[in-house]
């Protein structure tokens, strides 16, 4: 789980050009990365490729924090 979380935050910081050290598990990634729902879905696609999983769009509906997103991914690996 912590591996997934680290990889997820690495990927998000790189994709949206946000300093990695400013991100933490409980952050609202919409706010922290300053992204909209379409960009969040795009991040989800990159994560799927990274972890070789598939997550339907609707599963992102109530997800706001890196922690929660990492849990979602971990449940699929």
């Amino acid at each position: 789980m912590s591996d997934v979380l680290q990889k997820l935050m690495d990927l998000a910081s790189k994709k949206f050009n946000v300093e990695r050290s400013t991100l933490s598990a409980g952050d609202d990634f919409f706010e922290k990365l300053q992204i909209n729902s379409i960009q969040a879905l795009s991040l989800l696609t990159d994560l799927e490729r990274e972890f070789q999983i598939e997550i339907p769009d609707y599963e992102l509906q109530d997800v706001k924090t890196f922690q929660h997103l990492a849990e979602l991914i971990s449940n699929r690996i």
Partner: protein, 422 residues
Amino acid sequence: MTHLDLHRFSSLQEALHTFIGMHGSSIALIEADRDREKVRMDYVALDEITKKFSMNLVHRIGKNHARMGIIMSNQSKWITSAIGLFYTGGTLVPLDYKLTPEDQLKLIRHSQIEALVTEFPFWKRMKTADTDGILEKIHVFVTEAPEKESFSGKTYRWESMDASNGDFALIPSTRETVACIVYSSGTGGTPKGCMLTHNNYLSQAQSLSELYPIDQDDTYFSFIPTNHAIDFMCGFLLPLFFGSKIVHQRTLRPEFFASTIQTYKISHMALVPMLLKTLEEKIRTKLKELPPFKKFITNALISINAAVTRKKPWYGFSRTLLAPIHKTFGGHLRLIFAGGAFVEASTAQFFYDLGLPVVIGYGLTEAGTVLTVNDLNPFRANTVGKPLKITQLKINNPDNQGIGEVWVQGATVMKAISMPMS
């Protein structure tokens, strides 16, 4: 281009039944999930499944004229369920699948629906939040449930249709009958149900079809959900009236957007401004990344295209001149409908200069899809266009800058409003 005459119909179901019956083996619906095609259905199969759903609905509920909600993402069963309901003379309540389950349940209670069609994950989420058991009291048709899942009481697997009870009968409605109750938060923020009649929809479809006729060979890309007023009109009713194809993409991810447009040779699509802006940024980034000489040439070609098409679009010319850009859009894209929020003039102009006209509309749920729409004679990016022929608009008590409340009268204005939610 086919001329559409909807004046002879008294209801949506009559029009849909007639047009669906006319197009035989032409493809009606395609559903893709990412790069996988899940459904391909011709008009014969559409006719069959919609009738089967209507018979199943009457069999389960025990009557015609029911009020039914749909909570679904972009997919073909949204359309087949809606048509099946209309065939029974029923009233449709399209609900937003992106709402929280608590809000969905509130609207289910408020709208007093007797039946609901929803996807398995949404049903599961609502079940967990359903403290007063409203889902047990209504008939629920659940799509795509896992094999191991069993249903009881008034909850059924959508795919297990029981149409053995009698023959198909098309139940008529008058033009003044309510076809849909559409929830809108409006500018006031309090959700209210707008009761839109068959006449509202048929009038809107007639006027839009005269402005922007579709051809039987055209393909509409349904990218925004069908509960959205624009998609309901442009991505459901109009393509089926014209006998053209509708392509649904289950995911809203930009990564699968281009591949769907290319694969299915999309000619028309509707986008909300946020998606249009995302697309613009992606294209601008790609143009910036071109090597200097190529960038210079491309920008010059875009300027030539903008100058040549200033008075009206010239699709063949734009597609030839800007072939690599048009190839990204599959080479067949003719119109992008945009609405639902403010469309930046610079964005609309950017696409028009590429040879991809953006049709900007202004409307509100209370008056169907659009009240005004810009035409392409010539294209103007900074306007929402003129009122439709069937609509009269006035700015009431304008201030010295011409700003005031918009008053509207016309055939698309709703019949009534259901009581606001407390």
